[in-house]
């Protein structure tokens, strides 16, 4: 279950990442952020974002044209 959901559908690089960072900033450690995006580049980008920032990418899946990510705030 996500504590917060970010709808980044229709947004292109780098907005999904920037919006996700903004959302994570308002959350506390251990909370989970779910992100919905349509940018195919966001798959690799969220992996890189999480590796670099130390946040945990719990889930990355695709449902039709929509990509869904679940990030646990750990940093």
């Amino acid at each position: 279950m996500a504590d917060q959901i970010l709808d980044a559908k229709g947004l292109n690089c780098p907005l999904p990442i920037l919006r996700a960072k903004k959302a994570l900033k308002t959350m506390s450690e251990g909370q989970k952020l779910k992100i919905l995006a349509t940018d195919p580049g966001s798959v690799k980008d969220f992996e890189a974002f999480c590796r670099t920032t130390g946040n945990e990418l719990l889930e990355s899946k695709q449902d039709g044209d929509v990509y869904e990510f679940l990030i646990k705030k750990t940093a």
């Binding site: 229709g10 947004l11 292109n12 690089c13 780098p14 907005l15 990442i17 920037l18 996700a20 960072k21 940018d39 890189a48 974002f49 590796r51 670099t52 920032t53 130390g54 940093a75």
Partner: protein, 164 residues
């Protein structure tokens, strides 16, 4: 992973001020900031115009055969003879802005605001300011002025340095 004492940093030299060339530095700077980097952008020559409050960005179509705009299901390049006409830059600039909006790409104004919000350090080149007779009053708030030595000091300490 990123601890206070091992914060990574990035510097960018921004030398170009057309709509198409404004994107790479602002996209990379805001993304790096979102990934926890300390970011410094140094605006020099034509890049300095990107700090003006009022941005009127156009495209560089003349002598740019790689620029092909999607149009009616095809890709069209603009012949130099048309690019040379007055207003061609403004026209293609307007077309590009429409396209960017349609594709959910942020505007340069939006990315610049995000850069300011993310505490990215924006340094305007003092020499360019004098050379092109720009007034610092016409520039956005929160920028600082500096020169080559200021940049070198930042670059020497940065993990990534880009010249765009």
């Amino acid at each position: 992973m990123t601890k206070e004492n091992e914060t990574k940093s990035m510097s960018l030299i921004v030398t170009k001020g057309s709509l198409d060339w404004a994107y790479p530095p602002f996209i990379l700077a805001t993304t790096a900031a979102a990934m926890g980097f300390n970011v410094t952008m140094f605006f020099t020559f034509y890049g300095l115009g990107l700090l003006k409050k009022d941005l009127k960005l156009n495209l560089t179509t003349l002598g740019n055969p790689a620029m092909q705009m999607p149009m009616m299901g095809m890709h069209m390049a603009m012949p130099n003879i048309l690019s040379a006409l007055p207003g061609a830059g403004a026209l293609t600039g307007a077309m590009m802005k429409n396209l960017l909006k349609k594709k959910g790409v942020a505007s340069i104004e939006e990315l610049r605001e995000l850069a300011v919000e993310a505490d990215i350090e924006l340094i305007a080149c003092q020499m360019t300011l004098d050379l092109f007779e720009y007034d610092v009053k016409d520039m956005i708030e929160g920028i600082s002025l500096g020169g080559a030595a200021t940049y070198i000091e930042v670059a020497a300490k940065s993990d990534i340095n880009l010249f765009i």
